[in-house]
């Protein structure tokens, strides 16, 4: 929606690229836009046309589970909000007319065209229902395909993926058995505005399935000729199992059939553990061979070997969900051909260098992000999307547009409060638990409420249009939106209000979703009462809200990047090439972090030399104009967005003034002291030490003086530990396999002891298969029975319980390599947390503002994070985040000013007696005692330093300080409203 209404973004839908010429900085692209037959500028999405259309078709968005008409809106929150007519189904298209009719229509068209008149009138159409029904004359059958020629500096390919066609796996019966569905189909069922309003049903008889079985890796990891991993399916199935449990208590059993449980991202393992704790699903390791119809009635039987219990099973299921892999989009290959970029062996858009490129295609000036490059989870897609924005900017220099704001005529908001209450359904997120219409009626009955209404999604473009319309119609001067948490959409609503001249601070939100319907679903009556109380309290506060106006401060248009590893280097380069002054501060004497010698020799999956990659990056950094400070640390930092002041301590001392800060100082590695004999046995090393040893000898592998003939790798050392770091460190599986493969190729016996193989990065799964093919032995162990390193004075073997074999084994070894996990750099994290107040998560890494919506932002404006400082990840992801952070910073630095929050504290000089309490309690030195008359002091608060916490307001003994937007009167009114008599 933000995209749809941005003045600099032109959304061209129903269109595709048909030609592309030129090169980076100067592409000439021809786009063919198919007609919608509905005028986008006129359609108001009222839906009247749909009611009158006589033709039914399958709904693509609901994957055929729901019907639509020939005229339809693709999905509830589509941008633009206009409807579209499908020429394949609409009766008016030539295919339905006889030859004679076609001739007649053509003749009329010609005649009318000469007279510049609209050729098709409703009564000349085969079917004119929608045209007649439309009250704004938006239906236009005269629309023709349009060719649009664009001149652009850069191209971004984000064509996503399509589902693997599960019909290719005949043994799973998709297409034969109606109760075998794909993960996308069940998503549509679970979705509030989908087919069944969030309820899971068997397509065959619309009853609730009692037993659901999820089959993972359908179309991935070997099936159907595709070896790659589809990355998101494991977590998706776990999430679906939890949602199903919540929505449908009649579901008795959910089983997930997996091979490796790939919970690789931040918080993923904790989520899976929660699923296990809550028993949302039973996890069985096995890949089914076939699905057959069961004996009793319509149920299905899934034939699978439980590889951990060593049993052949026939699992009865009422519904089977195939977690289908992401496949390249059908049109991707031809698009790639048009653009002159390469695709990989599967048909996904190829990255320039799989070891390090996050978003670069094989051609300069053309970028790619999201699942177009291969399956991705959402946080990675979002980081990549921001990253391309940073990269593409390089080709757009000279076209920067200044912020143009049309001055808006402010609405007349004077007079007694006239409150409008908008209660949101949020699909079924709220409506599934609360009676929303009743809440609206209740709100309407409250004093000072001029109007109250309910809406499916107040945040959608139609919802917001209705909001604005009601404000104008009822001359509202206060708005209460009862919906989600203000922390999500308050800025969006505020902006909508500001655009129409309504002061954005006259908005109050009542949190009836995150803090009501979502958490009191088991107590519906009480939840309803609570929602009513929250609305009553919201209206009470709204009555006392005052219009506030933003101030402005200058923005220091330069940035500081802390940490000279690959992430820091990328971020600094991306910003500097745009012309912003950037300081890159590195504590040690060299840049490169973990990529520099002797830390990493080769990068997976293509074994590129780390030194070469680093050299390329450093060259770009050098020519970018960024200023590099080596042997320098940040001694202190104060300030806020647009106005940070950092004291650098290095060979010299320097104070820098910057507008934004990027934290990219990386992470530590787990120290396995005492584990597996590390520290006592000389031939037990960490993966990092192993890597370093590779530098010492080109021809042979020699570690600590040992030339091993048999090497054992132990994975997950220091990760996935309920007593320590519970998460996955993400980089260790591919690193260990890379190392194992190197050894195996030299004829060295290699064994890998693992819990789950999480080869997530591009090319890593293929590397895993290659390792297996080269004879690397993979032994699956149980987390509660760790392998034991045995030997006298040195490691001689590894004893373990092989979970797949079901037996204890002893593998002789000359060298044990421990794949150590990543750890937060606690000292530096604590220091920068103190300086900047950016939150730190429970895992010790910096906390992103939102895992999907804001993966590289912190809750503190102007402070960004990139790379392993946010959590374990590998090089490609760190580079993506670094570019993403640079993109976000460049948005700030693009302007000369930063807007000031007006919700600050103010002193009433008539009440102030100059006691100085406010000065004492404020951490930000905002209040100052000013001598008004000789001997008489009064406090004044500096609005640019005040953070709006309101502490001074609560301490002032005279009650002289008002904490704007969170005034005493507002709070007291809310307390009163809590206990007010019920008005029904």
């Amino acid at each position: 929606m933000d995209v749809g209404r941005h003045p600099l973004i032109d959304v061209v839908t129903n269109a595709e690229v048909v030609a592309c010429e030129g090169g980076s900085g100067d592409f000439r692209v021809r786009v063919l836009k198919q007609p919608r037959f509905v005028r986008e500028d006129l359609c108001v999405a009222c839906g009247l046309c749909v009611d009158t259309c006589p033709v039914m078709a399958g709904n693509e968005f609901d994957v055929g589970l729901k019907a639509r008409k020939a005229v339809y809106r693709p999905f509830p929150q589509s941008v633009p909000a206009a409807y579209v007519i499908d020429p394949e189904y609409c009766l008016n298209f030539m295919g339905y007319l006889s030859d004679k009719q076609k001739q007649r229509v053509e003749k009329i068209r010609e005649t009318k065209a000469k007279k510049h008149q609209k050729a098709i009138y409703a009564n000349m159409l085969v079917c004119g229902h929608c045209t007649k029904a439309c009250e704004v004359e938006a239906i236009d059958f005269d629309m023709r395909p349009e060719e649009i020629d664009l001149e652009v500096g850069a191209i971004i390919v984000a064509v996503g993926f399509q589902e693997f066609d599960a019909r290719k796996l005949g043994n799973y019966g998709y297409g034969r058995f109606p109760d075998v569905v794909t993960s996308l189909e069940i998503e549509r069922m679970l979705n509030a505005s989908g087919v069944t309003s969030g309820h899971v049903v068997r397509p065959s008889d619309m009853t609730t399935p009692k037993r659901i079985v999820f089959i993972q890796c359908v179309g991935a990891r070997g099936e159907g000729g595709r070896p790659y991993c589809s990355r998101f399916c494991c977590m998706n199935a776990v999430k679906d199992s939890m949602l199903i449990r919540q929505h449908d208590p009649e579901v008795e059993e959910v089983t997930i059939l997996y091979t490796d449980l790939r919970a690789f991202g931040k918080g993923f393992d904790d989520f899976v553990q929660r699923s296990r704790d809550e028993k949302s699903a039973t996890y069985i390791r096995g890949r089914p061979s076939k699905i057959e119809r069961g004996e009793e009635g319509d149920s299905l039987l899934v034939f699978v070997e439980d590889t951990l219990e060593h049993q052949q099973r026939r699992i009865g299921a009422d519904l089977v969900v195939l977690s289908v892999a992401a496949a390249p989009n059908d049109g991707a290959t031809s698009l790639a051909g048009l653009l002159g970029i390469a695709t990989d062996e599967y048909g996904f858009i190829a990255r320039r260098d799989a070891a390090v490129s996050a978003v670069e295609s094989t051609r300069d000036g053309i970028f790619v992000c999201g699942s177009a490059v291969g399956p991705q989870v959402i946080p990675d897609c979002v980081a990549q999307a921001s990253a391309v924005a940073a990269r593409a900017q390089l080709y757009l220099t000279g076209h920067r547009v200044e912020r143009t704001e049309k001055p808006v005529e402010p609405l007349d908001l004077a007079g007694p409060p006239r409150v409008g209450v908008f209660v949101c359904h949020c699909g079924v997120n709220i409506a599934g638990v609360l009676d929303v219409e009743s809440l609206a009626r209740f709100a309407a009955s409250l004093p000072d409420v001029a109007v109250a209404t309910d809406n499916l999604f107040v945040c959608s473009s139609t919802g917001q249009e209705e909001l604005v319309a009601m404000i104008k119609e009822h001359r509202l001067n206060r708005v209460v939106i009862a919906a989600c948490t203000p922390r999500t959409h308050e800025p969006v609503f505020r902006e909508t209000l500001a655009r129409v001249g309504f002061n954005p601070y006259l908005l109050e939100m009542a949190n009836i979703r995150d803090q009501c319907s979502w958490v009191h679903a088991e107590h519906r009556d009480e939840a309803q009462e609570k929602a009513k109380a929250l609305i009553r309290m919201g209206v009470a506060r709204a009555r006392h809200l005052e219009p506030l106006h933003e101030g402005e401060l200058p923005m220091t248009r330069s940035a500081l990047v802390i940490g000279g590893g690959i992430a820091g280097i990328q971020a600094a380069t991306d910003l500097a090439v745009q012309g912003f002054p950037v300081a890159l501060v590195e504590k040690t004497d060299r840049l490169g972090g973990r990529l520099r010698r002797p830390n990493l020799k080769y990068l997976y999956p293509n074994m590129r030399s780390s030194a070469e990659v680093l050299e390329e990056k450093l060259k770009r950094l050098q020519s970018s104009g960024a200023r590099v400070y080596l042997n320098t640390d940040i001694e202190s930092m104060t300030g806020y967005v647009g106005n940070f002041e950092a004291v650098l301590k290095g060979p010299d001392r320097e104070t820098l003034r910057v507008g934004a800060v990027i934290l990219a100082f990386g992470a530590d590695l787990h120290d396995p002291a005492g584990e597996f004999g590390y520290g006592t046995l000389p031939n037990v090393v960490t993966s990092a030490e192993f890597e370093r040893a590779l530098f010492e000898n080109e021809d042979a592998v020699v570690v600590n003086g040992v030339k091993p003939r048999r090497v054992s790798f132990v994975l997950c050392v220091g990760s996935r530990d309920p007593n320590g770091f519970t998460g996955c460190s993400r980089y260790c599986c591919p690193t260990a396999i890379k190392q194992a493969l190197m050894l195996a190729e030299r004829g060295i016996d290699t064994t890998v002891f693992y819990r789950d193989i999480r080869t997530i990065s591009t090319g890593a799964e293929e590397m895993y298969r290659k390792a297996r093919g080269t004879g690397v032995l993979f032994i699956r162990i149980r987390p509660d029975r760790k392998p034991m390193v045995i030997g006298e004075g040195r490691a001689e073997g590894v004893r373990c319980f092989d979970d797949l074999l079901g037996r204890e084994l002893e593998v002789p070894t000359d060298l044990v390599v421990l794949s150590v996990g990543m750890r937060p750099n606690r000292t530096d994290t604590a220091r920068f947390h103190d300086m900047l107040k950016a939150s730190v998560g429970l895992d010790g890494f910096f906390l992103e503002r939102h895992p999907e919506l804001a993966p590289v932002e912190t809750a503190v404006e102007g402070v960004f994070i990139a790379g392993t400082v946010q959590g374990p990840k590998d090089i490609v992801d760190s580079v993506a985040q670094a570019s993403a952070a640079a993109a976000k910073v460049s948005v700030l630095l693009a302007y000369n000013t930063v807007r000031l929050d007006p919700a600050v504290s103010v002193v009433d000089p008539d009440r102030c007696r100059g006691c100085g309490t406010c000065v004492d309690v404020c951490e930000f030195h905002a209040p100052l005692l000013v001598e008004k008359e000789p001997g008489f002091y009064s406090a004044e608060i500096n609005a640019s330093l005040c953070k709006g916490c309101g502490t001074c307001a609560s301490w002032c003994p005279s009650g002289a300080i008002t904490a704007k937007h969170f005034t005493d009167r507002q709070v007291h009114a809310m307390i009163d409203a809590f206990f007010a008599e019920e008005v029904s």
Binding site: S197, H199, T208, H247, V428, G432, D435, F442, T485, P486, R487, N511, D514, Q515, C516, W518, V519, H520, A521, E522, H523, R524, D525, E526, Q528, E529, K530, L534, M537, K837, S839, G841, L842, L847, A859, A903, V921, E923, F924, K947, C949, G950, T951, A953, S954, W955, A963, F966, D968, V971, H972, M974, I975, D976, F978, F979, A980, E981, E982, S984
Partner: protein, 167 residues
């Protein structure tokens, strides 16, 4: 209640018993950055918990002055929970320490007013601690239930027994 999700509407008759059961009314003062966000996190993670409380959001726990707490009890609150960021983690650096200082004063006065100690509680809850927020609410609700209706609340009949639960 409509039938969208397949759950049958409860008949008014069967609700009678629940509506005459006394439920505590708890006011929770929460800071925007940590505890209110923690409650949202509980929401996002769908961690179910007791519903007998209402949140009042302020920017910082330092904003929570004794007068707010007294007013809540005066109106008949059975329990008041003051929450903010963990010490050392305040978004405004030391606002929560100010809150702690004021809380000592508040606690004293509340005691003098004759309210039981268990009715007023201070908790530091971070934005990530959704599960903990839910746990605190459940525990506090349980404790307040044991204490029964506030001695100041009995006067306010709408806040205690016999309130009709309207849909």
């Amino acid at each position: 209640m409509d039938d969208k999700t397949g759950h049958s509407a409860k008949s008014k008759g069967s609700r009678k018993s629940t509506s005459t059961r006394w439920n505590p009314e708890i006011v929770v003062f929460a800071c925007n950055w940590c505890s209110y966000a923690g409650a949202d996190t509980a929401g996002v993670s769908r961690v179910q918990h007791e519903p007998h409380f209402r949140m009042i959001r302020v920017m910082c726990s330092g904003r929570i002055q004794p007068a707010f707490v007294f007013h809540a009890f005066e109106k008949g609150a059975d329990g008041v929970l003051v929450s903010g960021c963990h010490i050392g983690d305040c978004h405004y650096m030391f606002g929560n320490e100010r809150a702690l200082e004021q809380f000592e004063i508040t606690k004293n006065v509340v005691r003098i007013l004759g309210l039981e100690e268990g009715r007023l509680r201070l908790e530091w809850i971070s934005a990530a601690e959704g599960a903990r927020f839910a746990k605190v609410i459940d525990e506090f609700t349980k404790e307040v239930r044991k204490l029964g209706p506030s001695p100041y609340g009995a006067k306010n009949s709408s806040a205690a027994w016999g309130k009709k639960a309207t849909a």
